[in-house]
Subunit: 308 residues, 4 copies
């Protein structure tokens, strides 16, 4: 198992089938620095345009349609002392009648204290002088190339992943993505130092990170929607509008996982999900919204899809 | 402050303006036993028809339109050794194409161990033999009479509360409801021994509880949607379909609370909500879905609306 | 068959079970003058508060739960020389990002020429000097009492009818409503001189009409959602949010009608609906939206549910 | 102005930036034969895979980002004696609780009588023996390459057009599409001999057509969503889920058109739209639904965007 230090020379605003920027062996680790959602790098240079420029694609030898790509988020290290957010609630998360009262949303700078591991607005609004938040880094946008020659905008998400903006895509989480093309073609970028549920100001704390991921192919394992595993939970992802449909996709995927992966029948899966499920809202801002369906591993007898 | 032991003699399937079954002083406590969602009492007798029969209405002296009713859920004591659930995922929470594969959902019995404080299916499905869940009691349906002569079915919910099926409506939580008629006219029932997010089998563990609530009028405090406070958080509730709209209502109500109640400006409220908010899905089964918008009290300088 | 001239002495803002203001025989005709959506009568007097005050309830002898009430809209005669509309698109029908650019919506007067049969804004905006529209009167809100003690606000609609704001509820149309209580308890009001699809400024041309309806009980005929019949078409109504769900209700009701009422099998119903159906959007403004599913009678072998 | 007879040698399942199969001058006409949604040609040969294989891309000289491509659908000539449909309502257009009662949907053959200009199911279901429908041909899927390197699946639609399945995309209609790349890169395919609103069995009568279109660049005219013009009406298109959002896009685009193109102020646009608008549902089956917002040209003083 090798470790590759990958420096992107160009970036993509759509996740599709393109010439691999790097090809690795199954199980290899990649360390790469990302730029922010608008294309600014750690030096404050604008190196490309938004939305959400991606590093990649990274081809994984042996990955083929019908397989699953296991992405372990090993580490995220902040590499910049500032980030930015929008400063007013997005129009689509409040009552339509309230929108006229909202001022235009501006980009504001946040200070990132890498030693202390926290961040705060550079110019705190009144009564927010002590508003200092611990860093909870996450990858906003990552995924694999979709089928049928599609190239899907990094503003949105689909079965192949994409701009899901879910805060549990953080160090320690293992993610599973459905492979649709030879080599899988993995992309990542758009890291956040922090983000609330729903990304309801339209941004997390947008900044640059050094990300370490390990990519492994699970041959012959077919999944429909992204899945994940943390120390405590397994979860499934649905990406769609409205939230109701995103939730349906995530719930259907969890039912399949519990029945096919853990051997429960429909009644067992229904009891477990009905009385213990937790739903998280990844984002309710992007063109496709993201809902996670999450189950505690305390009820399960084996880890997720991992083969290690 | 008196404590009233209230025994319902009739039950309501709609929350509206009706003759008070009990009138109490501002600040009094009420202890009452509820029957289950289908009208079965703790002795196993069917005493009325569903859906979700309510105890009440309880008039609170002095409550008037434009006030807020503060409902403290003091305690919930299980009073029955069984409960029931549906045993298959509801049709509206899975992908439409998956529905044909779901068998019809049946009512199944759960055993409640009141001493041990847990519950389990009477006939566990395969691999679920050790599926024993701690009791996490909650009130599924409660609210106050709405305006304009409306009487709203206990299958659904609105600004006045109702069938919200949210698991944080549990002992220790303080709930705030907008008063629309003289005396507020409070109803409650439909208790669950436990429920996952979304109530996605269409039920929690449906059973009978003795509930203790303290009702207090906050004069001249106007709110639009239900609000709540736990030891850790404040939260607001939106009830509507689709989930997107329920989330908009809850988010708008939280913005109002933070700005009017805590003195934040729109940027402060947006920073706080944008980077720290948590969303919970109460139910995604009833005619109106329920979403909670939740903020940690660690960022706030005073308790919710409480005046005690 | 008698004709009753009914003058309302009080009005209702919710459709529920209340003391009948008039009781008629099965098949009788009622002539009644309505007031406008805000409670102004034909003399310009405000006689009650909005929303959408209803004349009624009218009990029909012999109607019982499980029956259908057939409402023939015989005639609508304008009785006022003015009406009013809102003058800016509603916030929920445009993109959220466009809302900030919309000015506040004001009430503006329209002139109704009863002889010429047309109407126009009293103060036409630039380039609208010749904007004179033929009257196309319709009943905005009407329905029967719902089940379970509910009283449903006249701002919204449900299986029992209500504020559907559909322009084919006009003279010549026969409407079928599901009876849920003894006597059916029919209400009507909120007439429009004209309205586009969706009621997207939040109003039609709101004014007062003399309405003539004939009410007939179809014993033992059970329907779920309102149905209707014009000279050319049959249609079914779904009331819900989002539009998707309203459309599902209307489509399911049409499938039932074609299969149970016209003897088609699922393939025949699917061919007919799939290749010839027309959908209309009644309103996309009220709390519940309204969608009609419409099929040309040219493919059908008998009239709707009528027994005459 | 030349006329090109274009024979596709390969087909695309996504609409994106690809090597032009044909380059034409501004204003030229193209005649091309399409294959059906599953890749069957007029000879009954399967020449490629679905979904909805596209002829193209056709580059139009001079078209550049920010322009509008005017597509006149000059003619559609049926070139096959059969078509096919699905034979059961789609799962997403009926109430979830009704889905279990629906049999699996099968592909069935329809006979097309090109001389008589009608079609009918080869094996009519009971009571449908006389169900013979006039041909009303339309283009199900067509559009131009989107921005940012996207390639959008022909199962769905977006601002660039795509699988809109709207029955007014028929001969005589002029369509306007927003150009996002050099040459516009126009694609088309997926023709239907007939289709009801919503494409609610998941298909129209799917078959092969010879299509004649004339492509013209309107320089410097920027639009956001597709627009169209028939002999009677102008219309705008929104593509999204749920229907509510598709309707918002279409309504916002019509407001822009009326204000920027016809000089109405917001009140004039609101009066016109509020009291006369018609909404059509193109499809309620594809990943993005399609809604058209339509206004009669009788109120307008000039044709759409046409410069001829």
């Amino acid at each position: 198992m090798s470790t590759h230090h990958f420096t992107a020379a160009r970036w993509y605003n759509s996740i599709g089938t393109a010439e691999p920027a790097l090809t690795i062996a199954d199980g290899d680790t990649v360390v790469t620095e990302t730029i922010d959602a608008n294309g600014w790098d750690k030096h404050g240079e604008k190196v490309c345009d938004g939305p959400n420029p991606m590093n990649g694609p990274i081809a994984v030898a042996g990955a083929a349609p019908g397989d699953t790509l296991q992405v372990t988020i090993d580490a995220m290290r902040p590499i910049k002392d500032t980030g930015w957010t929008r400063d007013v609630l997005a129009t689509n998360v409040v009552d339509p009648e309230d929108i006229r009262a909202l001022p235009a949303s501006e980009r504001v700078t946040w200070l990132i204290d890498r030693n202390a591991g926290n961040c705060r607005p550079e110019s705190p609004p009144p009564k927010m002088e002590h508003f200092v938040l611990p860093l909870e880094p996450m990858i906003g946008c990552f995924g694999v190339a979709p089928s049928h020659g599609q190239a899907i905008s990094t503003t949105t998400s689909a079965q192949n992943g994409g701009n899901m903006d879910y805060r549990r895509f953080c160090p320690g989480t293992v993610v599973y993505l459905p492979v649709a093309v030879e080599g899988a073609l993995f992309y990542l970028g758009d890291c956040h130092a922090l983000q609330g549920d729903g990304e309801i100001v339209g941004t997390g704390v947008e900044t640059c990170y050094e990300v370490t991921v390990t990519l492994k192919v699970i041959k012959g394992q077919k999944i429909v929607w992204p899945r994940g595993e943390t120390a405590e939970d397994i979860f499934t992802i649905g990406n769609a509008r409205p939230l109701d449909q995103a939730l349906q996709h995530a719930t259907s995927e969890m039912r399949r996982w519990l029945m096919e992966g853990y051997g429960l029948d429909i009644h067992g899966a229904s009891h477990l999900m009905g009385q213990t499920v937790r739903y998280d809202i990844g984002n309710v801002y992007d063109p496709a919204y993201t809902v996670a369906c999450r189950i505690s591993k305390s009820w399960l007898t084996k880890p997720g899809l991992r083969q290690d």
